[in-house]
Symmetry: C2
Subunit: 303 residues, 2 copies
């Protein structure tokens, strides 16, 4: 492993999981960790999310070969500025944020002349904070690396090796393309889930207790996504605005068509769509990106 | 148990699960089963979904004290007409359909003078067919019974006892109220999931392979719901049209607000919504209606 010392800035679900995964898969690598919240630093120390939890960002990064920012998208620039003076020459700077174009800009602006190679491991759960991380989070998951123009090929390869060592499969693409892909596979699903859960909570003639009791009809799957970290997701929508709005408008157009089919009683149009969508599910399961057990295996657990 | 003989018409996920649950929880009850598809009857016999699989609906129902129609909503009336001549006096007729007002009408029209007491166990998985059922499907799940005006209280209580014996918790309400509650907790979530999976499959600049690879960002949860039985769901939307359209319009209004918040860069409005929705998730887990393990326990399984 080319990176002997890795600094993790932000010790929530992603940062914590990286620290634990390094200890499991890369025992020769030393980790330092920092979080702006003292309570998170304390808990991170108890869970040993990094070998050494530091009292400042500068201290955490000063000997690091690789620094990974694991803070909400909107906090990346400030987090980078906080440790800009302490970074050593030749360091590789990366992150785990869900929208890449604005993050690349923010990191490059905060750290002029340094090697910035953004990354996004497409993995997570609805939990957040220093108790949420676990070493196997990246197993069999994709990590997308978005090297800016002119990035050093050797450093990009080193970052690829690093993520593969943690169990991820790696793909590279441009930041704008990443932002469009993730708008549809992640951002719009979250926006829709948050919204329908809000709609359901605000109804008057259907009580909240009814919504909760009968959530097994499908709604509960949306509530899982809608339990994700609010700060993280606010920042994603503020930072990937253009791609999100474009994909949202396509979804709204398709939803308007379905609405028309319901009004017209056009069962054939519905049946056609509902048949096509099954194939996508099968591919996702076949490619190991979801559990094949029905109902996410809930019944195995409960039954 | 007041019902010594139970006939199950339709041997898919729900019908099969009822048969298996009766064998497990009500060993004194005899079951007969029928499905219009000969291949399903064959497989149902192999899996012993009912004690006796019959070659006609009339044969299946002729001695039954309780007949449960487990066919798609749009097929209820025809299925009832098929066996109308063979039902014995005093039989209780029920079903498991997801929209109650139109089913009640169809069953009462097909079986004048008989006791029709519709029910809806709010339970299921994305799988369908005679291999999909399992005995524990109804454990800790709600079953909603919608007794028509003038229903015999004793018979309603017998049906409540029956569902409780299979492990369900029972609530009664009017059919129109059921249809509004389920529109929001089940029908709209399915409509949205089918639609976004369709939108994602039709994109040109984001390939289907990319959609599948990066589905762990949230999209894959929607694909599970969008893999549900197309015939069943087509019929739900055709039969619960009014409530679905009303709830859809509320959702669209809320989504338009979120769209405006994104355009305006109004992070506060987003943060407020994303915080409120977490509370609903907590209640669902607290009330045993979903698994508390993060990511539906996928990581336990994969890790």
């Amino acid at each position: 492993m080319s990176f002997g010392r890795v600094a993790i800035i932000g010790l929530g679900l992603l940062g914590g999981s990286i620290g634990l995964a390094i200890r499991q898969h890369l025992p020769g690598v030393t980790t330092t960790g920092y979080d702006a919240d003292p309570a998170v630093r304390l808990r991170a120390g108890e869970r040993r999310l990094a070998d050494r939890i530091c009292a400042s960002a500068e201290e955490a990064v000063k000997d690091a070969d690789l620094v990974i920012f694991c803070v909400p998208v909107g906090a990346m620039g400030a987090a980078a500025r906080d440790c800009a003076g302490a970074l050593k020459p030749g360091v590789v700077v990366s992150d785990v944020g869900s929208s890449k174009a604005t993050i690349t800009e923010a990191l490059c602006a905060a750290l002029p002349g340094l090697a910035v190679i953004p990354a996004h491991p497409v993995a997570g759960t609805e939990n957040s904070g220093p108790d949420a991380g676990f070493a196997s989070l990246f197993q069999q998951r994709w990590c997308i690396i978005t090297p800016p123009e002119g990035a050093d090929r050797k450093q990009v390869d080193q970052l690829i090796d690093f993520w593969e060592a943690l169990g991820a499969m790696v793909e590279t693409m441009s930041a704008p393309h990443h932002d469009r892909v993730l708008a549809v596979t992640s951002h719009i699903p979250h926006l829709i889930a948050y919204t329908i859960v809000g709609t359901a909570s605000d109804l008057e003639e259907v009580t909240r207790s009814e919504v909760i009791k009968y959530s097994a009809g499908g709604f509960r799957d949306f509530t899982r996504i809608a339990a994700s970290d609010p700060t993280m997701w606010r920042d994603v929508f503020l930072n990937n605005r253009e791609a999100v709005l474009d994909m949202l408008d396509r979804f709204l157009t398709d939803l308007a068509h379905m609405r028309e089919s319901i009004i017209a009683g056009d069962g054939e149009a519905m049946f056609d769509l509902f048949t096509r969508t099954r194939a996508i599910r099968r591919s996702i399961v076949a490619l190991g990106q979801d559990d094949a057990r029905p109902d996410f295996g809930r019944s195995d657990h409960e039954g």
